[in-house]
Amino acid sequence: METMRPHRTTTLAAKIIRILVIALTVGLGIAALMFGLVLTSSRQEVTRESLNQEAAMLQTAIENFMLPGEAPIAVQFFREIEGANPKVRISLFRRNGEIAFSDNRTIQEVNANIRREKFAPRSSPALEMQMPADSVHFPKAVSMPPQDVFFRQEDDAAVYIKIYRPLINLPRCTACHGSDHTIRGVIGVQFDVSSFVRSENLALASGGAGFLVLTIILAAALGSIMNRGVAAPVAAIGKVCERVAQGDFGGVVSVRGNDEIARLGRQVNDMVRGLRERSELTKYVSAGTLGAIQDSQEPKRVRKTLLFTDVRGFTSYTGSHDPERVVGILNKLLEEQSRIIHEHQGDVDKFVGDEVVAVFSGEDSPARACSAALAIMAAARKGGEAYDGLALGAGIACGEVIQGMIGSARRADFTVIGASVNIAARLCGLAKPGQILVARDARDAAGTPPGFSFRGPFKTALKGVEGPSVIYLLEPEGDAS
């Protein structure tokens, strides 16, 4: 036999929770992600736009300051803007990436172009901007066609957004700067966005935490709803079915509502009730009879052994005792007898008042009927006081009988009729208290198994039977009486 290994089961509730968590995480996660993206991108858009405007303003300023050659005023202007907004840094580059105004080369070129020493060389650089041109982004700004370049830069302390905006060598600039180049230089504006990024990160983190909490709460709430609506009822149904599997038909699913699960619960209840009724039935009807009923209800001729018992002097007993007691004692007696009959693979065919009619099938049915009768007598004797000292008589016969549904269309029993039924009944009637009378055929067929002892033969006339009948008295072996 294979040993039962406990195997890992995932409960329905766990599955529901898992599905909910996946669905919520995916659904809400995407929504949260999109929201976050929209948020940051709109913030970036705003920063970009303001940088752009700042650069445009600086560009116009430079173009206008430089037209009359007022480089020092332009520098002063930059400084003042920076002073007013500490988050902003401005730089000005030559088109080769050098810092503008850092030496006197441009002044010399301009003086050469206009063929006079209009601008005096400076002794120190006018603009000391410490930020060199970015080697990746600067070339993009001065490529053809030149374009504004936005980029993000991070160092240990801060996060910056930068713009490089190319300055075009306009025709009106050519008088001083010459016509041989298209790009004059590049304005760089740097904006410290650390505080934005920090608050953005905070918003994202708290948003993420909120999303997580929301997911958990929703999963828990939906999970408990699903649990109450689905998992718990299914588990209850499962428990009832489990009890059925263990032979206990007492379980009932408590059903509420009218959904599929409620209907399933009702069906299970119906089914269990059916099983319970059937199992009640099998207390009195053996599996053999049930099988016969299932197979067919056609009447047929079969060989059976009949055991009849009844209570001696029961009619006078009923007259002298109160009804509850009578019914109580009788039921106890009948219960005990049917238990014993079952033990000997016999079927209780019917109870007629205090009489029990039992049918035994098979080759060894006479022997089983005899030992059942002996057991019944022993039990009645042993019960003694419990049965108010009531004693039983029994008759056993065997032979061919006709078995079929006998009765009316409204009320029929699957029972037996025939000569041996009659003989067994007569023998039972003849038996004195505690006696078991056995017809000859039955005695012969039973043989002499250990524990049996037959006395006889006796000859007797039985009502409804032609001629004298040979009968035996069955007693337990070693019984002195």
């Binding site: 599905i19 929504a31 075009i168 025709p171 009106r172 050519t174 016509s179 041989d180």
Partner: protein, 184 residues
């Protein structure tokens, strides 16, 4: 049974994801590139020129290569009635500037590049009412310049400048250094 029972749950998990992906795709496809179609009429050489001579002095933006400018009929028709004051060309005006490989092209030589202005105020890529584009003659590829590079320099044409009639009055010339003014 087993799989069937899992289907609605799995679908519930996948649905929001699918919806989101679909939405994203819809947005992306709306922004997709339009099919390219030439904006430069092929017959520009039959148009009238605002400057008869070949320009080959060095200028910023177009270099020292030989340049020839053409303006199409709508441009000329408008300019004919507009005089030399404020100019604002009608939609459909096209100005083509041929750029040659050298400063002195041989007769019959073809230009290597066209710098083109197409008046199309409704176009989202238009700047100052013009579409600014560069056509590479070898590949036929037309590139619309969406930055303000061209426009920024051509804005100088609306004030006095060193070329042509120099726009001494600083009139608004609709970004053209050599507008098709009859007689200039």
């Amino acid at each position: 049974m087993r799989t069937a029972r899992h289907v609605p749950a799995a679908a519930a998990a996948i649905l929001p994801a699918c919806a989101t992906i679909l939405a994203v795709l819809a947005v992306l496809s709306a922004c997709g590139p339009a099919t390219p179609k030439s904006r430069v009429p092929a017959d520009w050489t039959s148009w009238r020129k605002p400057v008869d001579r070949v320009l080959n002095y060095t200028i910023p933006g177009h270099g020292d290569k030989a340049r020839v400018i053409y303006v199409n009929a709508p441009g000329w028709e408008y300019a004919g009635g507009a005089g030399s004051g404020r100019l604002e060309f009608p939609e459909g005006t096209v100005v083509v500037k041929e750029i040659y490989a050298s400063g002195s092209p041989a007769p019959g030589e073809k230009p290597v590049t066209l710098d083109v202005m197409v008046k199309a105020p409704g176009d989202p890529d238009a700047r100052g009412g013009w579409l600014w584009l560069v056509k590479d003659m070898a590949s036929g590829k037309e590139t619309v310049i969406t930055t303000n590079f061209c426009q920024a320099c051509h804005a100088n044409a609306n004030s006095s400048h060193p070329y042509g009639d120099r726009n001494p009055g600083g009139a608004f010339r609709d970004y053209l250094y050599f507008p098709p003014i009859p007689g200039t």
